[in-house]
Amino acid sequence: MKQGFRQQLKTLALIATIALVAAACGGDSDSGSTDSASADGVSGSVFVSGSSTVEPISVRVAELYEDVNSNVSVDVEGPGTGDGFQKFCAGETDISDASRQIKDAEAEDCAANGIEYTEIKVGIDGIAVMTNNANPVDCVTFDQLFNLIGVNGEGKDTWAAADSSLPDAPLDIFGPGAESGTFDSFIEIVIEDLAEEAGVEHTVRTDYNPSAEDNLILQGIQSSDTSLGWVGYAFAANADVKLLEVDGGDGCIAPNEETIASNEYPIARDLFIYVNTGNAAENPALQAYVDFYVGEGLDVAVGEVGYVPLSDAAKDEVRAGWNS
């Protein structure tokens, strides 16, 4: 019996060894592929959290930078701008992605914890308001959008019921879920002031179709002739939907790269990263990553992941700001 037990232990040990060896082999090929030596010998790690809208830019920049210097490891997560600042001001992250500027309360939080930071503008995200190609409506005002999508629109299932100046047609609304930066921005830019005036909650009606996936929002828009929805400009630009012109007080403006970059189109927001300057001074890896971010990152990554890049003048300004 005892012999049998020993035998089984040996078998177990053998299995474990095989697993270890197999694992080690996998590891070898892994480390082999990341051996490209760095130009400047910088190594270390960087942790980025914050906006899920900016997350793809930071990830893409990290991937591009990895090709240049694989000794700097950059981890990125995207719980949301607000969650990101909470962690950033607690000193848990090096960079906070943000789809809006830092709020006063958050800045105070950072100051209380002795976190110093610098703000870097990295790109512009236009929000497209869309409908089906079959819909005759061409332009909407902020007031109309507030009536259609704000909390006062709750339960109203035609355009006319929500706003009497609009045609009497069924209203199906599709948009990003509350976890999304696009959701926050839409509320901030379009809804907030009007909701304040009307004395209602600063949010959207709950009876719309929220979706985490932009494709699903586009499909929803296509599924109904008089649908309405909003999504990041880049995702809607090439899709088979009708982009509505928006009147933010200065007449109807159609969304395109120029009007967004020039801030003529009213529903656009700047995208930022906030860098912990204390950490940057101590951590050459963070310094190097941000250097790369404001360089090739702004030139290549922002456009690649579908946002509107800064104008050349704006880029120069950002670079000058960071380098000082």
Partner: protein
Amino acid sequence: MADISIPSTSAGAVGRDPLTVDALAGPRKRARKESFIKGIFFIAASVSIIISILIVASLVREAWTFATGVEWAKTWGQNGWFPRQGVYDMPTLLVSSLIVTVVAMLVAGPLGLGSAIYLSEYASKKTRSLLKPVLEVLAGVPSVVLGFFALFFISPQVIERIGRNGWLVIGALIFVAYIALVIGWARNLVQREAGTSIGTQVKRILILTALVATALILLWWINSVAGSADPAADNFFTVKRSGQLAAAAVGVGILTIPLVASVAEDALASVPKELRDASAGLGARKMTTTIQVVLPAAVSGIVAAFIIGISRALGETMVVFMAGGAADAARFTSSPFEGGLTMTAGMASLATGTDNVVGEGLTFQSLYFVGFVLFVLTLTLNIVAGRFVNRVREKY
């Protein structure tokens, strides 16, 4: 201590002590080592108590913060579950959980029970050794795999392909089958009326009332699902490719089949062979024996199998998270053909991608509140199931 004297015939043994019980116990060192080892094993065993306490403590602590801090109006009668906006409508999660559990059990109940009966009553040893591993492999499939399958196969190829009218017909058929079963059972009761105590009769009437109520709810539900779909729209499924509760529920059901089958099979196996032999001796056919003798004898265990299945389906997370068709917020829905979040999926999607859920105020605590509700529900189900299992054990 009584001395046990040993015969002193061994002449050479000089100065040998008489053998005592103390001496039999061996050296003190040996006893100390024994109790030390026992102590280590005891500590290992108590780890489970510590874990239980920690689970309850962490759930209660944060759930209490939530319950005392939240505006209760935000947890009931709202339009949906929007935790990051501070709207925590529990009915949204509870109704979705109910839908998923019911649909999952419609899949797992018959398939699991049927498999168990076949394996236990009909299969030859050879067929058994061929078919049993299938269930074992199925039991080992990780739930993310079922989530993938539900999203990319069940949703487009089964749920959407059968389509709106198909599902309404299937729903009606299930309803009719359910009514037929209840009527059959009631008739059976009336026939065997004589000799039952009033207590049993009251119990039966209560059960019957519950069954009829369930039937009415089912009818109302099918009607409301049929009514809520826009008949003008040819597309029953407003949002495509991200799945819907029904697809997720079928996936959950598939995951639950092996569990129901294995508990039910245990129950059937514990029915003594004598009962089957006696029935066969009376000339009953295999089917008659199975339905009228073996199943009634194992009924407690089969009920336990269903309850354990329900508990498992209620606690399944990843399938609904991946194929349930909703992100981290969901509108209230009572239709299985729309996207929704169950309690488990609601927690998972809120926590995805970060180790530090913050959100608005009580968002983090809402995770624990939902977890606490889920914990209490599954614990109750498991305790009830345990009672039923013990009933079978005591009987035979």
